[in-house]
Symmetry: C2
Subunit: 388 residues, 2 copies
């Protein structure tokens, strides 16, 4: 069990290598302001299989913010480095952008021996990872996540995808990066709302499995987002650990790892209905509260455990998004059941039986719940708790 209370000194410029030994495995290089180590690390990572060309993929906003200097450094070390600017945010996750990108890279001489670098948030990572997976049936890429969400949650999944006409992440593949490079300095620049959204999955990890993480979060979270470099880096490190501790019990993320979906059945419907006006983390914050209410309704957990959800999200993190006006219990319910019907599975739920422990059903952690009960919980939640 990882000790979340240990104090780890993260001196600016000091590089830590995390080997998570998942399958497929790749190292995460971690620290605050570690850019100076990047070239040496990259050279070592490709020393057995040389790189002929490097393509640096980012968006104009991130590039202006802190990509320019970094890009110049890479270009000095790898003179064949080229840059490609993607549309910002989710809008880059389309087949059209994928095709334009892929053909552009081939035109520029990308080869089996080339390397793509994804510098940005989850969207940049996703489209770059998918392109890397498809070009000549798979070339190498590196993830440099610049957001808390992607550094501490997204990069650990190896899931690459574009959105479809009918839903998010419909089309994609699994393709692991050669390495991930998590410099917490980039996350300092995130707007408060996104910083907070990035911590939600960590709260989830505490609630479902890593109970010992919760007291740390209570102490470590700054409501105004004002972290010292040491504080922010310690927080991000432990957010990564909180997911890793769960994944290592189940490297495939198929069986025990399914508990990471806690609250996500509700969250996916809410996020989709909000048309991206809510972040993923904000949607998950609602989803977890509803999942807690449902767990309580089924008498798996008591009021105190439910209240801990509200306490952590509303009081400790103080992430208090408003649900868009057009959302109501019926639309959320219908979207959930339509979504799941479409992807061919029954709607099943990850629920709690205790803080730090999920309820196990017949062989796995996905539970069937009577539709009427779900509907009742949704109605009650929207009436009483939706907008704190």
């Amino acid at each position: 069990m990882f000790d979340y209370n240990q104090i780890i000194e993260f001196d600016p410029g000091t590089l830590i290598r995390m080997d998570l030994d998942l399958e497929p495995s790749f190292p995460i290089f971690f620290g605050y302001d570690i850019e100076d180590h990047f070239i040496d690390t990259l050279k070592q990572a490709v020393s057995h299989n040389s790189v002929d060309r490097v393509f640096f993929l980012t968006d104009a906003f991130i590039f202006d913010l802190f990509g320019g200097h970094f890009y110049e450094k890479i270009k000095q070390a790898f003179t064949t480095t080229d840059i490609y600017l993607l549309p910002r945010g989710e809008s880059c996750k389309t087949f059209e952008v994928l095709q334009t990108l892929c053909d552009h890279l081939v035109g520029k001489g990308v080869s089996k021996r080339s390397l793509l670098i994804a510098f940005g948030g989850g969207s940049v990572g996703n489209i770059t990872g998918l392109a890397a997976g498809l070009i000549f049936r798979g070339i190498r890429f590196i993830e440099i996540p610049t957001t808390i969400t992607h550094q501490t949650d997204g990069v650990l999944s190896n899931k690459q995808a574009v959105n479809g006409k009918h839903g998010k992440n419909n089309f994609g593949l699994y393709h692991a990066p050669l390495l991930a490079w998590a410099d917490t300095r980039y996350t300092e620049h995130e707007p408060l709302r996104f910083k907070k959204s990035g911590i939600i999955e960590g709260i989830k990890n505490g609630l479902i499995d890593q109970q010992a993480f919760l007291p740390f979060l209570e102490r470590a979270i700054r409501q105004n987002g004002d972290y010292t470099p040491q504080q922010l880096t310690d927080l991000c490190f432990k957010l990564i650990r909180s997911k890793f501790e769960i994944l290592k019990k189940d490297p495939t993320e198929k069986h025990y790892g399914i508990i990471l979906e806690y609250g996500h059945t509700f969250a996916h419907a809410i996020e989709w209905l909000s048309k991206d006006t809510l972040t993923h983390g904000e949607s998950v914050s609602f989803g977890m509260k509803i999942a807690a209410e449902l767990s309580c309704k089924l008498v798996y957990i008591n009021d105190k455990a439910v209240n801990l959800h509200y306490h952590l999200i509303d009081d400790v993190l103080q992430l208090r998004p408003r649900l868009p006006e057009h959302l109501n219990p019926e639309t959320v319910f219908d979207t959930m059941y339509a979504d799941n019907k479409r992807i061919g599975r029954d709607v099943r739920y990850v629920l709690l039986k205790n803080i730090g422990q999920c309820k196990k059903g017949d062989g796995d952690y996905l539970l069937h719940v009577d539709k009427a009960i779900v509907k009742g919980v949704l109605e009650n939640f929207f009436t009483n708790f939706a907008n704190p």
Copy 2:
């Protein structure tokens, strides 16, 4: 060693199951006029993991020829079966078709538990396999190849791809079918030129490794394409075996399997320059002759071995395509070296040291050859042998 001389009786309607034990492994169900067994075979193949929807992908030409009856049978057994008609031939291997197809299938309710069926030649197989690989990060599909080329060569590779602006099969992935269904009755309808093209890779397999296959081919090939069902089925069966015997020495197709690329460095350039006026098999027939000339020039093989190439292709198979006027030694040479420069490798060649044996270089079967020698061989070939 497989005995190519054994006579195998293929009674119409009799189903043979071939398990090639490659990695990843899938069974090939084989025979002449075996359609009546399909539903039972399919039901058994999905008995442990039920199918909610079936999508039958083909093109209008193939559907009219022999898809209609088959489709109705599947629809009777799986009432949720739906059909999707792809553009005919290589024109379906684009990102645009892929996107339209993927979104259409999601709109029609494709799920993790659905099954795609590719009914057609290599293009239908490629686009269907790629879509199956990407939808929800991978769903099941079945290959029903209707051409000799795809039945006896293409389906064994698991390579799925679309073409890019700058080249063929630039973007794709490896995705193995649940099973392949090779009914040689479909191949009876192929135009003579395509039947012959489908046999070229088999001649190649004989020349590079399976020498014992060549006397069989000399006896079995009918120049007018007029095969009895028994003859055609025996030929296709042994064409599959001739590739399988090579693959099983190297299930990854990475090291020893590279010899399957014999003649292909020249062939890819010729096929690309011909703008699809030459079939893949026709291009490979030129490529093998040039590779033989080069092997001879380097004194690896003698004239007799070279002449066997011409004998098998020109006299036995009587595949005698004309090279398009605009092709010449310089354009072929330049395309080869530009192509390979683009994909980041030196131009290296698989060459013969004997009939049935490839020349081994430093550790593998890819040999460096001085550019001037390659140029000389190309010039000589175009002057003296290109159009027999």
